[in-house]
Amino acid sequence: MTSRSGTRARAFLVLALAIGLNAAGNLLLSEGMRGIEGVAKASGLSGLLDLVGGAFDNPLVLIGLGLLVGFFVLFLSLLSWADVSYVLPMVSSCFAVNSLLAFWLLGETVSPLRWVGIAVVTLGVGLVGATAPDGGRRLARAGEEGSTVKENAEPPDARLPGEAQ
């Protein structure tokens, strides 16, 4: 099935998995780094190297890094077929997701301004998510093949020639 809803569902699924990995990876990294001895007194290049060495001995940090690598691989797989102008803003929503998780799981306080920021990011994700993940490129291809595509004609939600019903 290559219908529009199928494409969008696949994009949402991979994005959800990627954003989940990113959030879990960052939570583990921050927990792991806080647990390392001597973080506060690390200074200078040797202090920094000790800190990095300590981080690589910490299982939480290693698992966190592994999850972030997994996130990056999923991000790359999205870039292989979806528009970068779709993938990037959707992935950027992980800043809002991480703030929310820090609020729910770690009990960090969220200021009113940050709540507004989370709401604005959510609005932006809604707008980008309403466009077709690979619509821009399919339209561009259609344009090269000779059909006329008007610029900025809100194209991604128009039905394209040759698309499965």
Binding site: V14, S77, L79, V84, V120, T122, V128, R141, V149, E154
Partner: protein, 121 residues
């Protein structure tokens, strides 16, 4: 100096996303997320010059980001780097042939503005 570093971060992140996208498209579509297919995808991409250029630019951007953080607060540096999404979206049309609708542009702007608000607080 901080602003020069931030400019390097924005430009390197912006172009690295474009280069990574070119590399991934040449490597072929990977629509499944089965580990075996993802590993094969990385294998196909790993040797391609645009992919390696993209990784290199990510490295430069990250180094400049850390250098900027050592000079200025996160609440100043991060909002400025969040604008790299806007640069990437600007470049996506001429360099990748993507058509960015008004709705998508509005969303890109809202996400960047929201990230700025999150980091300011």
């Amino acid at each position: 100096m901080t602003f020069l570093l931030v400019a390097i971060v924005v430009v390197c992140f912006g172009f690295s996303d474009i280069a990574l996208t070119v590399g991934m498209r040449r490597a072929g579509e990977a629509r499944s997320f089965h580990p075996r297919e993802l590993a094969a995808m990385i294998g196909r991409a790993a040797g391609s010059p645009p992919f390696l250029l993209g990784l290199g630019l990510q490295g430069v951007a990250l180094a400049a980001y850390l250098a900027a953080l050592s000079m200025a607060d996160l609440s100043l540096v991060f909002p400025l780097t969040a604008t790299s999404n806007i640069l990437t979206t600007l470049l996506a049309r001429p360099l990748l042939g993507e058509t960015v609708s008004r709705r998508r542009w509005a969303g890109v702007g809202a996400v960047a503005a929201g990230c700025v608000l999150i980091s300011l607080s």
